[in-house]
Symmetry: C2
């Protein structure tokens, strides 16, 4: 019986999505990829991890990208991946790493358009974690150590950036339930019990194979 | 221990949301309200059930509503509920019935902006059921008996009407995950196992009280 399970988690900033992913990975005893993805994609492609870190979940500037293609920055040769803006190249290399990781076995992958990149992976389930604003704000201040002043704005900006990244590379609106098997408000049950619910979901999913 | 639980279910047409609600109600041995809401709201308000049926999950025409208010259809008296367009009056009466039902005890309520009307009800959980297009189409044709020709269009129209009803009375976009504790793609586990997952969710929720 093929028990492989790939869990992708998209998450609002402050919703505890990363923590939920970590606990899921520990519970299921499978690898967990969040920032770890960057390190691995950098290693595999011989690229400075700082470059990846800097481009992480940020879209290219679509103006410059389309301008470069339209005015023929590429001279007389057809454009190749090396001609793409750095963020787009990193996205493609990162996608390759995500596919490779998914081939290796069960895992939890946080963010980075995992739901889109692995939309045709039959063993994948795609989750979105959101939460009530006041809970997110509390978590951002007390757990992530963001100064209370400006925390609300920082939270909004981070989600706007994630949305722009998704919109740019997927071509769809971020945070729409249709892209996910399960979208959960982590405020309803709290982190620990949300993990329990997802474990039950995985158990049922596996039993149906 | 207060074990009361109100489950509201919003659903895409063809997602099996009604069937899921019915099975939840049977499993939990609590009343189920879908069309039953209309009958009850009609009875309680001495209004012809056909009028309710006709207005069911349809918004007023916002043009006529605002026109009536702006050009002073109401003459010299202040507008009262009796001056509202019929669909708006029926929405208000139905909302009153939904509040009353929620006061009486545990129940399952399908559609009719239940999540919004009961957003401050502490014992309520709000669910949204969606599904893959091909599964919805199959269900609409084979279980609801809609002729295959035109089924896709009928499905889209029904959801557009539900969205317009929600947008009109709630003032927010329909089908956004932020309004729900749990948004579930019923294609992932199928109807029966989706019911099992929700029962587990309810069990965890009750255990936290």
């Amino acid at each position: 019986m093929n028990d492989k399970i790939i869990i992708t988690i998209a998450r609002e900033y402050g919703s505890g999505g990363r923590e939920i992913g970590k606990q899921l990975a520990e519970n299921l005893n499978i690898p967990f990829y969040d920032k770890e993805l960057i390190t691995r994609a950098a290693e595999e492609n011989g690229i400075d991890p700082d470059l990846f870190e800097n481009a992480d979940e940020k879209p290219s500037n679509p103006f410059w990208t389309s301008l470069a293609f339209n005015i023929g920055t590429f001279g007389s040769h057809s454009p190749t991946m090396n001609d793409l803006p750095m963020n787009d190249r990193l996205f493609l290399l990162q996608s390759k790493t995500i596919h490779k990781i998914a081939q290796e076995g069960s895992c939890v992958i946080v963010g980075r358009c995992g739901d889109y990149i692995l939309e045709n992976e039959p063993n994948a389930v795609h989750l979105f974690i959101h939460a009530n604003s006041e809970d997110k704000l509390k978590r951002v201040i007390h757990s992530y150590g963001i100064p209370a002043e400006g925390a609300q704005e920082f939270m909004k900006k981070t989600d706007r950036r994630r949305a722009a990244y998704y919109d740019y590379y997927v071509g769809e609106k971020w945070g729409q339930m249709e892209h996910y098997d399960l979208s959960i408000n982590s405020s309803t049950l709290g982190i620990k019990s949300t993990v329990d619910l997802i474990l039950e979901f995985i158990k049922i999913k596996k039993s149906l194979k």
